[in-house]
């Protein structure tokens, strides 16, 4: 029995962790190309879920058609946000940018509330909700979707950043904006790309979790915060480290709630966050390099 329980905690943790990872990567992509912590990242997660519901409800599209539409609109929102809120800033000091992203997130949340109301809504699961047993533990088909889609997105990310010109250009911007500009990379376009990619990823995360966690205008806050934790554990890398960070966070939360006490579940996440920031600000796996400090 004890083994079954541990297995269940781990599986539950891994599937929640995958969500944190996906949101966390959105944070790190923008951070790496602009140096901004985009606190509106959680709102794109909300937009993904709410827009899918919107396309399915009032506009009566089937699920498979509503999803790309929702991702598209969220991505456009990301571009608009970058173009009209981030780019016009004359002196982009970090504190200004942080405040702008917080403002943007409040605006998006408010608009979503006015447009779609305050009710929590649920999205139908992609492929049924019959539990699947794995050696005494059970997961839902949706969990497999989440894990699968997360893996695919991470693989695409890897390909993009290491094997395409624009991906390499974005990495160049991350290392040194000025130098990247000098060799002819359009830095502003790269910043826009980073907002595009991370808002699309946030939206996807929001859509694939909505059947399990449901969605409402304010889901972005907590999910955003957990995603941020994952990114910090992963040292703000836009690759495997953040994914592992998210999974660690999910599993620890789940084990903590099951074996210690459910009252400390959120505390566990934030204690980890603080410990990492104090002891290893470069992330759990990062080398203490000077470029990112």
């Amino acid at each position: 029995m004890q083994f079954d329980q541990i297995l269940q905690y781990t599986l539950s943790g891994l599937s929640t962790g995958a969500i944190y990872a996906l949101i966390g990567i959105g944070f790190s992509i923008i951070y790496n190309s602009t140096g901004i912590i985009n606190f509106a990242q959680g709102e794109f997660v909300m937009l993904g879920g709410m827009l899918t519901l919107f396309f399915m409800g009032p506009l009566k599209l089937p699920l498979w058609a509503a999803i790309p539409c929702a991702v598209l609109i969220s991505t456009l929102t990301g571009i608009v946000f970058e173009r009209f809120a981030i780019r016009p800033l004359r002196q982009p000091t970090p504190i200004n940018l942080v405040i702008i992203t917080i403002g943007g997130s409040i605006l998006m949340r408010g608009l979503a509330m006015l447009l779609w109301g305050k009710d929590t809504q649920s999205l139908p699961p992609f492929s049924g909700d019959e539990p699947i047993a794995i050696g005494g533990a059970t997961i839902l088909p949706q969990h497999i979707w989440i894990l699968g889609i997360t893996l695919v997105i991470i693989a695409i990310n890897k390909l993009y950043f290491y094997h395409t010109i624009s991906g390499k250009a974005m990495r160049a911007c991350a290392y040194n904006r000025r130098a990247a500009g000098l060799v002819g990379i359009d830095v502003r376009r790269m910043v826009m790309f980073s907002f595009m990619i991370s808002s699309a990823m946030g939206a996807v995360a929001g859509i694939i979790v909505a059947p399990l966690t449901m969605t409402a205008y304010d889901v972005g806050v907590m999910l955003g915060l957990k995603g941020f934790c994952a990114a910090i554990i992963g040292g703000m890398s836009s690759g495997a480290a953040t994914v592992v960070g998210g999974l660690i966070l999910g599993v620890l939360e789940s084990l903590g709630a099951g074996l210690v006490s459910s009252g400390y579940k959120d505390a566990i996440a934030f204690i980890i966050l603080l410990l990492i920031l104090f002891i290893r600000p470069q992330g759990l796996f990062g080398k203490a390099d000077s470029e990112r400090v």
């Binding site: 929590t120 966690t213 709630a257 099951g258």
Partner: protein, 380 residues
């Protein structure tokens, strides 16, 4: 001399107050609701209900020949703002009674104002502290949480479920429910074998439920408001837990079944206020007619279903106008009238106030229901 002056000024204020109220020929009732902010799911239907009822009453010629006027302010769920607005209602708008606030925190903050200014306050919040101990000028309409909890425990006792697991949300509603269930369980000889919690925004409770599954209790009681209980219901199905699951009256709406899915919610039991289930309660229930009227009128005016929360404002309105009809429209007369309310059939239940009970509801305010094929059915 000082006393005389004070008496004079009191008289003077009284005259101004009375004349302003009389001259207009209207009775002003204050409303303090959290129309925006985190508790807007309470405040919005409360405000709409009160406005609808006042318009309706005026269309029918008012109360005792006088028109009603509702002065409603939005507190945003903020206790400080609620206190300021309560003072404003009393001093500037000269209301004779206040309906609201929507939340327990705001109500507790406004109580001293009402007590000091001698204005009857009919709170729409459920917290037991509001009317226990009894305060002279303070009443409330929602039944105490422990009445709902007792309903569940009585049902469990009948079905020999002695050991249960508790899963509560870490907000005001959940922690108050948790305390009261624990006290009641001790009194009635139940054993709480697991005491787990979750945060309002948690998205997965399989960890807590896996732990509970390992302990094998006779029943699980979950105390929270949406969406948490819907997630828990889904998780229970995912984990294949067959233990009876009880929910609180906080999710007694179709929304809960819709969120959890009819399939996962099948068999879940909970104590529901009668508004949520008026179409399945017996036709001869004294409340049945009023509940149906309210729901239809609300749907007609606002296009959405009436909610239990709006019902609290409905109760407040019926209580206050009932008192005015009986005794008269000054603050003191309304207070006495409120306290003497007997057998008032309303939305939340049948009110029987007394100097010792300023809530006036008992277990008959709730019915145990079970989710059957996506709808409520009564359980005996």
């Amino acid at each position: 001399m000082k006393k005389f002056l004070a008496a004079c000024s009191a008289l003077f204020v009284g005259i101004i107050f009375a004349s302003s109220a009389m001259a207009a020929g209207t009775i002003k009732i204050g409303g303090l609701f959290a129309v925006t902010g985190p508790a807007s799911f309470l405040g919005e239907p409360e405000k709409k209900t009160l406005e609808m009822l006042v318009n309706d009453a005026n269309a029918k010629g008012g109360i005792n020949g006088m028109k009603l006027e509702a002065v409603i302010y939005d507190t945003g769920g903020d206790a400080t703002k609620a206190v300021q607005l309560a003072t404003k209602l009393i001093r500037d708008d000269k209301v004779v009674a206040i309906i609201g606030p929507s939340t327990t925190g705001e109500s507790m903050a406004v109580i001293p104002v009402a007590e000091k200014e001698h204005i009857p306050l009919v709170s729409c919040a459920a917290g037991i502290k509001i009317t226990e101990p009894v305060k002279h000028w303070v009443f409330k309409t929602p039944a105490n949480d422990h009445v709902a909890a007792e309903k569940i425990l009585n049902y469990m006792a009948k079905h020999k479920q002695k050991n249960f697991a508790l899963l509560t949300v870490t907000d005001g509603f959940g922690s108050s429910g948790r305390e009261q269930i624990k006290t009641l369980a001790k009194q009635k000889g139940f054993a709480i074998v697991a005491d787990e919690v979750y945060s309002p925004k948690d998205t997965d409770m399989t960890a807590q439920l896996t732990k509970i599954r390992g302990i094998k209790p006779d029943a699980i009681i979950c105390w929270g408001t949406n969406p948490g209980p819907a997630v828990i219901t889904k998780n229970v199905k995912q984990l294949g837990i067959k233990i009876p699951l009880y929910m609180s009256h906080g999710v007694a709406s179709k929304k809960y079944i819709e969120l959890a899915g009819a399939d996962a919610a099948e068999g879940v039991m909970l104590p529901a206020g009668k508004l949520a289930i008026y179409d399945v309660i017996p036709k001869n229930d004294p409340q049945a007619k009023l509940l149906k009227e309210y729901d239809l009128a609300y749907k007609k005016t606002y296009g959405v279903e009436a909610s239990t929360f709006g019902g609290y404002a409905y109760d407040g309105f019926l209580l206050v106008t009932g008192a005015i009809r009986k005794d008269g429209a000054t603050a003191a007369q309304i207070r006495n009238g409120l306290e003497q309310t007997r057998k008032l059939v309303s939305i939340s239940g049948i009110f029987n106030m007394s100097p010792k009970d300023h809530n006036g509801l008992d277990q008959s305010a709730f019915e145990m229901v079970r989710v059957t094929k996506g709808d409520w059915s009564m359980v005996k």
